[in-house]
Amino acid sequence: MLFSSVTFLYYFLPAVLLLYYAVPYKLKNAVLLLASLVFYAWGEPVYVFLMLASNACGYVLGRLIEKHRGEKQAKTWLIVSVVFNLALLGFFKYTDFFISNFNAATGLSVPLLNVILPIGISFYTFQILSYTVDVYRGDVAAQRDPLKLATYISFFPQLIAGPIVRYRDIATQLDERELSFYQTSRGVRRLIIGLAKKVLIANQLGELCEIFRVSPDKSVAYFWLYAVAFTLHVYFDFSGYSDMAIGLGKIFGFEFTENFRYPFISRSISGFWRRWHISLGSWFRDYVYIPLGGNRCGEGRQIINLLVVWSLTGLWHGAAWNFVIWGLFFAVFLIGEKLLWGDALSKVPILPHIYVIVITLVSFVIFDSRSLPEMLHYVGSMFGAGDYPLISTEFLYYLRSYGLLIICAIIGATPFCKLFFRENSFGITLKTLFETVFLIILLLLVTAYLADGSFNPFLYFRF
């Protein structure tokens, strides 16, 4: 079930909210768990059992690790947990990728298994992994109540598109959390803004990208328009989903960590990744990069560590080589900034912003490629290597058509709007009234777009 759907907004959510606020406090986690299972089963009626099995393993292994903490067995159970979860992820997400590469390398034709990827498996597997590792490290106590652990892992706001919430961040909230009008109103605001980002901006930009893909009238400028549109599409889609998740979390009394902080205002690629998909970046930092040695080793080892982490980061986004190349593409610039031009960047005005924008535009063209030849073709064509004219009729038409939306999206990707509303308080009552009316209008517009049955893709089916 998508958050940006009539079913979720007008059937599922009101029913869950009524039930959640109607039941006594001690039953609220049970309501959330039940709602989460219905939410997941709606889209994955079979794989809901896989997620429950995964939950059960996480619970049992967490308890075993804690029971044997300080003993050798704790490490054994941790390894079991890591192997189990990675095997699960590997089987469902990467089996066919490995088989096809094996076939390509050996000339054999091992049949593909055509395994259907369970939605959200990358997110919940990483949550279970972080939980068991944190229990092993002694950062958190193992959860004794299996329902609470299941609520954490399968909590529907963050189940299918993140953010990757750490158990230690919400462990206490599972036991006790504040349900206030302040928290709920913040959550509602965040939810609706997220919906608007997804439905009003991301979906329309996504439509332009689809139009570009089938265009017979491509040009160099059109490739750049596509790169801008797709980059903004991914940002508004993903950050919109994160906003919805954070907002829903607040409505149910949870505080999730931020996942996006205006990444396009960064002055370096390392800065960009401190602002883009923060929960994933910090997960890889804490559970892969630092255990590999992080920055505490020599330059050569640091480079290897970065290459490992970023190829894994790429692979996490999808089982295809373009994602690995996408990760390594960033790794090259991160290594460059660390060892070569990082200091110089911090001293120059404007140029660092252009540098970040150009690199991210190219990176998302790589990200969106359906094959390696297409990736080379698209990236090459952006720089005039393709046999395309500079501009084309179709480019001019769509630039004129989508120009204003792209400008709005660019402004919306900066903190400008947030600062504007913060600086102009208008008086508390007027501001509240204005804000409430504004949110109602946004909800009406989102509903209008959804009721029209407009283009509404789900980007995370490969995650």
């Binding site: 079930m1 759907s5 009539v6 079913t7 907004l9 007008y10 059937y11 959510l13 009101p14 029913a15 909210l17 709606w42 889209g43 994955e44 009626p45 079979v46 206030s180 009008f181 302040y182 709920t184 109103s185 913040r186 509602v188 605001r189 609706i192 329309q204 265009s215 017979p216 009238d217 009729t393 179709e394 038409y397 004129r400 058509s401 989508y402 120009g403 204003l404 939306l405 709005c408 508390i428 009552t429 501001k431 509240t432 009234l433 804000e435 409430t436 949110l439 109602i440 909800l443 009406l444 517009l445 509903t447 209008a448 777009y449 959804l450 009721a451 029209d452 049955g453 407009s454």
Partner: protein, 360 residues
């Protein structure tokens, strides 16, 4: 207090929406989109576990959402007025004209059309003393500032693929005003010069005097509802004279001859009033003119544009046969149509040639 206002206002919106979704009567048909709306999906274990129930329910919930027509209109206006998007779901509005983007040129479709025409020529026309003509009708995008087909390429490609047909160029005879504001079709009362150009090329005399009659109701074409925008209606004007009144129109849709109408007033009251011309879509239809100056026959392979044009060609022929190969197999035509000594005209709009998959 301010947080309570926000919470209660938004909760009320969601709750009202939810209650309306649950209890408001669900429509079966969308008049504006001219389509049947999704129905509540089948509730079986298999449909649930296959995911069909979830997909079906989402479609049903979206299609039957309360006040959907109004919301579609809100969306269309916001897309246009706020985001400045040129088209909404492929529907484009320029001044009072509404049209559907038909882009890009689909060469496999042109090939398919040409292959079907070639089959007809080889099977029925060669050696039958027929004269074969091709004429292509530009869709109204040709006259608008939209993303449009490469019309020159389309026409030259079809001419190249149909060397057995003489081409009749009617592009210069048409202007934007010759088309309805909210429909793809042309206005019968404005296309006499087109009919004249075709008749001249065929060597037929179609000179006649007509009187104009109006349908009483405003005409909202197929794009009016799809656009979900506020639009100006047209009026349908049709041409009448004694010759047309004396003609016999016969439809062979059921395999047997059935009386049909030159101007069908029942269809004029229906969902698509343009169907009043020759009673709308028909696989095979003949117009017999007892007052023809000479015994002469014309066979038109056509789409819906010909429904309003064919009556204007009547004075030049004793019999006109209209064939729509979207509804009848080309291989069966020999059972129904005699091509001997007839003039044969392939008359198709660019949009139909560019989407010819239905040609049989």
């Amino acid at each position: 207090m301010k947080d309570r206002i926000t919470c209660f206002a938004l909760a009320l919106c969601l709750l009202c929406g939810s209650l309306l979704c649950l209890f408001r009567e669900k429509p079966d048909f969308s008049e504006s989109e001219r389509r049947v709306l999704a129905k509540f999906p089948e509730t079986t274990a298999q449909s649930f576990f296959s995911g069909d129930f979830a997909d079906g329910f989402e479609e049903y919930a979206t299609d039957t959402f309360p006040f959907r027509e109004y919301l579609r209109s809100v969306k269309a206006h916001v897309s246009r007025a706020v985001f400045n998007l040129s088209d909404n779901n492929g529907i484009f509005k320029e001044n009072a004209h509404i049209t559907k983007l038909d882009y890009p040129l689909n060469m496999p479709m042109l090939d398919h059309a040409a292959e079907r025409f070639d089959f007809i020529n080889r099977t029925y026309l060669e050696g039958k003393n027929t004269r074969v003509f091709l004429s292509i009708i530009p869709d109204k995008n040709y006259f608008l500032d939209v993303l449009k087909l490469d019309y020159e390429k389309l026409c030259s490609y079809m001419r190249e693929k149909m060397p057995y047909a003489s081409y009749i160029d009617i592009f210069p005879k048409l202007e934007l005003e010759h088309y309805y504001l909210t429909d793809s079709h042309w206005r019968q009362n404005r296309i006499y010069p087109v009919a004249e150009t075709i008749a001249n090329a065929l060597g037929a005399d179609i000179s006649a005097t007509y009187s104009e009659s109006f349908l009483p109701d405003p005409f909202y074409g197929v794009y009016a509802g799809q656009s979900a925008l506020k639009v100006m209606p047209d009026s349908i004007i049709y041409l009448e004279n004694d010759t047309l009144s004396s003609c016999t129109v016969t439809s062979f849709d059921t395999g047997k001859p059935e009386k049909a109408e030159m101007y069908d007033m029942e269809k004029a009251k229906g969902r698509d009033p343009y169907e009043m011309f020759l009673s709308g879509g028909s696989s095979l239809l003949t117009i017999e003119n007892p007052n023809a100056k000479e015994k002469r026959e014309l066979v038109i392979f056509r789409d819906s544009f010909a429904s309003s044009l064919a009556p204007l060609l009547v004075p030049g022929y004793s019999k006109i046969t209209l064939v729509d190969i979207r509804y009848i197999q080309s291989a069966m035509l020999g059972n129904f149509v005699d091509f001997e000594n007839a003039d044969v005209l392939f008359l198709y709009s660019t949009s139909m040639l560019n989407a010819s998959l239905a040609f049989k």
